[in-house]
């Protein structure tokens, strides 16, 4: 990474948000034909750095050079015109349009009279996709494609619009292993074609495999840059976290001994559940004091299964028994009364951002606290106990929830079910998007609940989450349960091998 060969070079970049330092003196260089991995915990400054490169943040200190010339982008459009493209984790494809239309989005070729030249558009889109080694029919509707292909079409659109430097934000988070292979194949071609790629990811194995160089950020500073071939995961984690806070990550990679409890009473017993195209023939048992993990790739049905268990998504067939009694989960209210609690994967659908913490916590137990009139003093007292018990910051029950950090919001989402412990607690992606510290907090809290005798079901698309929490693991594949791990040793490799 000598500065002469760099196509993009950032020097001494600093950025302050309202008195908080997001970046401090960060240097970053990207050569032609290089894939550069960018790694850091949440809040380390990855997004801020990328937003500066992509022209979203125009105010910053330091200099940015593109092809040797100093540039300062005033807008995202400036950056795009200069050949910098970005593929976000949340794709911005238009599902109702065809693949070709998505490739040409906003720049359809027109003939005379300004009409869209459909034939030419299809032909050129086909050539372009072929050139990248992406096998997809340009006439297919975007929404009918699997997520991995949609992502590749979006990547090809960014390339087609002239980008020579591409930023990929968490490109592998929702991809199955074969889809990751296909993406890496395309990136390999781009590398050979001399394009430069910044690859941001939490998935260290993926970064180390594909990247030439890896830069680690911590607390807004660049702590290391090294050739990917010369380092390993442990090296990266040490620099990312900055201390020996890595027992948790360690436990993901090593073998885990599952301790099942076959003698405890069943709290959840589901038989023959099926719902549309989402999942079928699901038999599932959770015992008191057990954490059952259900792992599967995105779209394999486990997230929908969790919704069914909380009465949000109707099952077409099958029976559910809670604590031995048949349960008819016609609504979420019925599920709550039957003794089921649910924490969804997105914070937006779990919390009331503008309401104070105590109202967020009491909403799920109001019917147990009062019949007609509210008891705000009792609500506040209960909330204070939870806030203290879970170390929620700030420790004030009056703060609007939206002012808390993501990890603390997640804790509130859990806390609202704890005052009257449910029989079954269903957690969907309980640690998604969390840094290592917040993850270990959640793991500790959930294990505490298990030890109180609650039956816990954890559904996730992240192997790490299931491995860190579960006493027993079911693997779901394309809507059906395909494998069970119980009373045996399991590792990420073995889990991925059967998924």
């Amino acid at each position: 990474m000598t500065s002469s060969s760099a196509v993009l070079e950032l020097a001494n970049i600093s950025k302050v948000f309202g008195g908080v330092e997001a970046l401090r003196d960060v240097d970053f260089a990207l050569a032609a034909g290089e894939i550069h991995g960018l790694i850091g915990e949440n809040g380390a400054g990855k997004s801020t750095l990328m937003k500066i490169i992509a022209g979203v943040h125009a105010e910053y200190e330091g200099t940015m050079r593109l092809g040797g010339a100093v540039v300062r982008f005033r807008s995202a459009r400036d950056a795009r015109d200069a050949g910098i493209g970005m593929v976000h984790q949340e794709l911005s494809v238009v599902p109702d349009l065809t693949v070709a239309e998505n490739v040409f989005l906003g720049a359809q070729p027109t003939g005379r009279l300004g009409l869209v030249d459909w034939r030419r558009m299809r032909r050129e889109a086909d050539d372009h996709l072929r050139g990248l080694g992406i096998a997809v029919n340009p006439g297919a509707s975007m929404g009918s494609l699997p997520l991995g292909l949609q992502q590749l079409v979006e990547l090809s659109r960014v390339l087609f619009s002239g980008a020579r430097t591409i930023i990929l934000d968490e490109p592998t988070s929702a991809l199955s292993p074969p889809e990751v292979e296909r993406l890496f194949g395309v990136l390999e071609r781009l590398r050979q074609a001399g394009r430069s790629i910044i690859f941001i990811s939490h998935f260290l194995d993926d970064v180390l495999r594909i990247a030439d160089l890896v830069t680690v950020l911590r607390n807004g500073r660049r702590v290391a840059t090294a050739a990917a071939a010369e380092i390993d995961k442990r090296w990266v984690i040490e620099r990312m976290i900055g201390s020996t806070h890595d027992q948790l990550e360690e436990s993901y990679t090593g073998e885990i001994r599952l301790e099942s409890r076959p003698d405890a009473p069943l709290v959840l017993d589901a038989k023959g559940l099926a719902s549309g195209r989402a999942y079928r023939d699901v038999d599932l048992q959770v015992r008191a004091g057990e954490i059952l993990g259900v792992y599967g790739f995105m779209g394999c049905g486990q997230l929908e299964l969790a919704r069914t268990l909380f009465g949000k998504l109707a099952a077409d067939r099958g029976t559910i028994r809670i604590g031995g009694r048949p349960a008819h989960l016609r609504s979420t209210a019925a599920a709550r009364r039957a003794g089921i609690a649910f924490v969804p994967e997105s914070r937006r659908s779990m919390l009331f951002a503008h309401e104070p913490i105590y109202k967020n916590m009491s909403i799920s137990i109001l019917s147990r606290l009062s019949r007609l009139m509210l008891k705000p003093t009792l609500e506040r007292r209960i909330a204070r106990e939870r806030v203290a018990g879970l170390h929620i910051r700030p420790p004030s029950v009056e703060s609007p929830l939206g002012t808390l950090s993501g990890g603390n919001q997640q804790k509130v989402g859990l806390a609202k079910w704890l005052t009257f412990p449910p029989k079954v607690l269903v957690l969907s992606e309980p640690t998604r998007g969390m840094d290592v510290g917040a993850k270990s907090d959640v793991v500790r809290i959930v294990r505490g609940l298990r030890d109180q005798g609650i039956g816990i079901l954890v559904v996730s698309t992240e192997p790490e989450t299931v491995l860190a929490l579960a006493d027993r693991i079911l693997v779901m594949k394309k809507g059906a349960i395909t494998h069970e791990f119980a009373s045996e040793a399991v590792s990420k490799d073995r889990l991925l091998a059967v998924a």
Partner: protein, 343 residues
Amino acid sequence: MTTEETGTAPTARAVGMLGWLRNQLRNIAPFLTLLFLVVFFALASSSFATLDNLSNILTQISVTAIMAVGLTFVILCAEIDLSVASVANATGIIVAFFTLQDASVNIANLPLPGAAAIGLALLSCFVIGWVTAFGITWIGIPSFIMTLAMLEIGAGISAMLVRGQIAYAVPSLVNTLGSGSLGRVPWIIIVAAATLAIGHVVLTYTRFGRYVYMVGGNREAAEYSGVNVRAIIAAVMVISAVCSGIAGMLGVAHFGSAQQDEFDNYLLDSISAVVVGGTSLFGGQGGIPNTIVGLFVLGVLNNGLDHINIDSFLKILIRGLILLAALIINVYAQRLRAARPLA
């Protein structure tokens, strides 16, 4: 830990002050508007700021106030009810239909004892509310369209019962509450104040009221907290219909007649009162105190414009402009809140 607390407290407070001002925009703006209007009319007209005129204003806003209570519940849930005036009209006509009319009134009505007439009228608006609730929650019709249909159905019921005629007699209880006085205070003001008070207590101090705010604040989160969202929305639609029905019965007594289309202005007035008062059109924020301020803004405006020399056609335009300004503030206040940094 102590350093952390002392360190963050001042900044938290500074952010809190700014946040408080932003949050209060929707409450402060209507209040300042009201203050401005009162001062303006008091200076412009000597007959405005009198005790008699205050009583006028209160009487004038009473019927709207009763309807606006139900609408406040509905709008707090981020729904809308366009059928309020129509349901009021239908209920007023139904209570007259079941009352013995003067021989000169050419309506084929069914005279019943007063209590039965009132009971049937209340039952009618309750049933209308349930139909609305059923359409919205079980069938899944958006409230905007569902209540538009109910507006037409209410108008149809009114038309069928009076067939272009005018009825005058209503049960004596309705007559007293609509046009009688307790001492010097008109009963209709007392009923309106009581309805507002009950609405406020229900919204602020009961479990149901909390659910209304939470459903309006984030419907999905309410559902994932095990709240029966459909039941809450059904309930607010029924409450709105019953409030409208009560307003309709008293209104008929207050106006002295029951006829087609006599509540037409009240739809816009009651929605305006709630929105001008600062209750969020997106649900979850606001309440009866806001609605009271909104009612006074509209009441003072309507009344005050009569006290100064102004083209009566211009009055309509001014009301429209005030409503537009309130809508802008409403949406702007929402955006300010949404834009608040989530640290």
